[in-house]
Amino acid sequence: MKVFCKALSSILTATILAINFVQFVSAEEEPASTQLLPSGMTVSDIDSVFQKYVADCERTDNVEYASAEIGIFRGDEVLYTGYFGETNLKTHTPADEESVYEWGSISKTLIWVSAMQLYEKGMLDLNRDIREYLPDGFFRHLSYDDPITMLNLMNHNAGWQECMRPFWSHDGDVIPSLKDGLQSLEPAQVHRPGEIVAYSNYGASVAGYVIECITGQDFCQYVHEHIFEPLGMEHTAYAPDHSDNEWVYSRRRQMRSYKMSGLLMSYTDLGACLYYDFAYPAGAATGTLDDLMTYAQALINGDAPLFSSPETQKLMFTATDFYGDSDIPICAHGFWPEEHAVRVYGHNGAMEFGLANMIFDLESKTGLVVMINEPNGNWFFNTAPDLVFGTLSPDKYGASAQSAELTGHYLNTRSYHRGMLRFFPYLTEANLTNTDAQRLSGNVYQLTEENQSMLIGARDVDGIGTVYELSSQDFIRDNAYLLHLALFTVYLMLAVAAYHFIIIRRKMKKHGKLTVQRGGAAIAAGQLAQLISPLLALASFVIFAYYHGGIPVLLSGIIGIAQMICIAICAYAAVRSVITAFTVKNGKLTRCKYLFNTVGCLLTCCTILFFQMYQFWGI
């Protein structure tokens, strides 16, 4: 009996232990597909959504994407990889593990990680003037003596406007060194450092050059040695022509980019879309989905494989700028926090070739990377972040029911505020109405539209006024926006009027009906200048777009000098018209004609001067 009881209890104990062991093992091996993501969906839910979209597109024979690659991970574990579409619609090459995409501005995180590595080693002081690291006289267009620190570069508030010189070249044989490239691109510094945030590719690339100066090593080589190689990222290139990785070089030239255009949404083949970046640290990294995911996983790895100490990695994700006077971060050492159901950190990238996104939740260690070959985006790129991380609920920060006064016209700081393209921001203003925003605590607002929200910070800056902060750029309120736009509109209308006055005068002369008047030549010259000046402004716009966001020095010089000549002619014509109107005996109609010409010439002069259309230097 005793033996029987002992045997029975042993068997029972063993059974219980075995059951617990099986449950324990099963719990550790929970399938990736059933793991819950911050949005509340599981990976298999998300995959179903993707597959349904693909099936719907195929069923309706209406494919609205070229290709997309998506990776979802948690910690070291890859939960999901998805390859959709074709990288070459003509040869029907499917997207796969060997497809390479451009990181775009995600490349900037390589600069910030490198900077933190040097900071950790005591080689870089984030609060020190970067001019102390750079060669003497490196900057030639600075407007302020205030120090520009690495933190200013990370926060994109060093004060530079957008570059007006061509940023890219089609010719891979003409890529200058990073130093020469940056010196040719240097834009005007239009704000005091630390005052205004304006996303700056130039500023980020300067940070890369600072690292180059400190280490004495080519920046691309530094990144390979200290980031790519330690992580085993063998399929990523960083040089502007991809020459630092043969495999990527070859694969990249097989990729095609596509763009949906027109109301009928048909695809245009943009070709390989190879552009060679003069300031490559800001956006030249190119590689596979796996490599980008490896990099992202390293950034959230508690062991911080890219740093000597995990504390440095933690410091990297602490906020360096906030919304308004709140504690909600807007920037963390170059990484941009995004508010979804959870707060995520990361960066996205946009190039002529395509888009990429890398974001992760530091709490749950969940991350997402997306890469596509369409510069205008597609469904996968737009929906994946919300599917994984959810959306910012209107209640997350306790938005009050009280609507906030955000009326007015706002100019984007990431634009041209000095020089001949100064009229650009006036054509792209943001117009807010007070029914759009709700006030949170402090100077933070929340804009909600169709259950999706975004945050806006606000602050007052001396000499500038109210500034609204969005992620990566500020918007400055322009109380006289309509007046400025009206000035530009009248400038265009005067050109139309001048053209017609010229052709009417020609017609009348041809039929012998034109009477010779004193000052007629001055009037004619003034009208010609009123016509030519807007054509020059249009030419600057066309040249700017043709060179993919920049005007070469020679062409800008020609346009600038021509605009100066127009000012001189208009000023002379205005004075001459006034003198003739009041000194010579004229009928009322004739006098009105002279005065109209005077007003037209003066308005044209004012427009050219206000919008600095003559300025081709120091920009």
């Binding site: 255009s261 027109g262 109301l263 009928l264 949404m265 048909s266 245009t268 006036y426 054509l427 792209t428 203003e429 309509l482 736009l485 530009f488 509109t489 265009l492 209308m493 139309v496 009027a497 017609h500 052709i503 009417i504 017609k507 009348m508 039929h511 009906k513 249009l538 716009f541 066309v542 777009a545 043709y546």
Partner: protein, 265 residues
Amino acid sequence: MEKLKHIFAIDRINISSGKNKTFLFIIVMLFFLVFAGFAYSPAAVFIEGILVAPMIPELVFQNEMKNHSEKLWGILPVSRKELVNARFFYMIIAYFCIYLVLFVLMRISLALQLYDRWQNEPEIMEMIAQRTDGAISVKQIFYICAITGFAVGLTTVSSQLRAFFKHDKLALSLRSDEFFKSTKSMKLTDKIIPSIIVIVVFLFMFFMLGVIPLNAATSIFAQLIIQLIISAHGIPFCAVILTFSFLRLWYFYTCATLEYDDLEL
């Protein structure tokens, strides 16, 4: 003013005499546009400037030729300039009235949105609004289309008036089978400009629809126009295009006055 009324009265008699295919054509086109505006898109108001506007001067000049009443002006105490003034004046007024009626009807169509009830695809203005990511609303697009259509039509009416005053046989040739033979005598510039206007409008439509892909150069112009349209609810764009059309009217009026004066009838 009295002379203007008399000239208008004579032209009215000409129009209402006998069969008038052009008048019938205008009525049919207007009905078609109204139907299209309710069934497909209120943006049909834009097309009025191309389809109906050129018919208005033709209506008067063709019937004048048909009834041989152009010889009347040789004996009536009306100068050529007064004739030009009168016809420009009342035809522009007529065009404006027709356009106003069409605009009101299309505005009603926009409010009722009957086209949404049976179409599977979004209406064209909704597609444009989507493509601009909501930077400009459907209503704003409608007003911009309406103003642009008015401007195009005004230019077309004034251009046609000038052409008829310049070429005394033009109205006759348009009725007859000798149209192409007659137009050979027209100057190249007189043929090109109206053709260019029509081609540009259709090209713009094809670009917007993506039937013709935009290359880098042409997309730049489209981008500039779109920027002007988007800024300040499209007011700068509308101001510029209306200025252009009114100045074109003035130019064509001046040309008509000078050329008709010199014309040997």
